[in-house]
Amino acid sequence: MQSDNLVEIAGVAFGYGARPVLKGINLTARRGQVVAIMGSSGCGKTTLLRLIGGQIKPGQGTVRVAGESVADLDQDGLYRLRRKMGMLFQFGALFTDMSVFDNVAFQLREHTDLPEDAIRDLVLMKLNAVGLRGAAHLMPAELSGGMARRVALARAIALDPMLVMYDEPFAGLDPISLGVTGNLIRRLTDTLGLTSLLVTHDVQESLKIVDYVYFVSEGVIVAEGTADAIRASELPYVHQFVHGEADGPVPFHYPARAYADDLGLGGRDA
């Protein structure tokens, strides 16, 4: 029987060189849910996505996707699993030498033997789902940031994956594109029966669409819960994050020696 959890992360630790980024993360994403991983910039959110996608291996702990331990797969196994995953990169990562149509058709041409007619129909259906069927002939350089993100979304769902990961899907978007992208993520998750994993620091936009939220800070999960629970949370870190307060558990100042010392006023308090 297949497990209810599509992604299971247990006790994962990871570091770049001597610098630890994740220090024991436990996280699950249930099938059909939109799950958000939030935290301030540089807290290791994107590293988590790379661990799930098998681009890096954890120092400790296990990452399981659809019951398979990602780190234990060989390249063929990993590529087989990745065909069932889609990933939306922060700025779309569209292939700049290909048109919008060819970008969406890329995986279909690489991984299937479908005739060009069938590929055309499928690509137009995916582009229609993100509202950009009319932009099929454009090159990525001719798209706005929001449009590029939507094309990348169409490309990510081209092979009807079971899991789609979004790396900062709301970064740098205007308010209209922001709403459109958020709605698309929710709608595609529900209609295609996907599981969506969002890495974001856009609290307000993501709380509108997510089922469950994990907060990461300094390499550990500091809070988790449904969108309503997070909004109502009294935890200082979550409160600071949700309400966008400049100072709090996450300090405004980068660690430094005493201000007075830096100004050459030794002996006097800063």
Binding site: G53, Q55, F91, E110, H111
Partner: protein, 262 residues
Amino acid sequence: MLKRALENLGNRTIQGVWRMGFATRFLLAVLMHSGTAFRRFGLTIREMYFTGVLSLIIILVSGLFVGMVLGLQGYETLQTYGSEEALGILVALSLVRELGPVVAALLFASRAGSAITAEIGLMKATEQLSAMEMMAVDPIARVVAPRFWAGVISMPLLAALFSAMGVLGGYLVGVQLIGVDEGSFWAQMQSAVDFEQDVLNGVIKSVVFGVAITAIALFEGYDAPPTAEGVSGATTRTVVTSSLAVLALDFVLTAFMFRGLN
């Protein structure tokens, strides 16, 4: 002070050796994943258009001018000894043995090598290579290997065209402008240029240069830090390293190929 200098030297050496090792593994990976470049030869043809066809103008024009200069300079020297009819030999041998492969390779490094590095570096910086990996498509097989083989195939063709244009340039200046006897020009060239010793060795040189330049350009792009500065530094390194590699390899190859020849 001395300790720090030694530490720096040690660090740089270790980094250099690491990088060499990484580059070798990279080249091996490219060779091992070259199946796609031949199975789907259209991908390689497409890259040959960008690296080869688009380099044609600079190669052809430079070849013509180099040949014309050879015609002028060669005539000046040869007439001192009363052997201006040998101009055809001088032009052809200089081009086929040395100038064709070497100058074409230097131009190829600056025109196509830099473009390859910048393209791969930017693809990496904009996460296109990561995106490809996440789509279960190996970027080494899909992006790198076709460019490698396109460069290796294009280089000898460009060198041959460079030499042909050079001979034409020498003919225009020597025969048409200065008035060297046309029959002697071509006949002496034909009798003196040996296919195996001269032409084939020139082709071998240009294939080796093609491998070196394209491998360096691809590696620098693949290894470039994903920033504007990183890509610009990598592009510069490609031109400098591959130009030096061409000149060094040329010396080694020449020493082996033409040792003891008349």
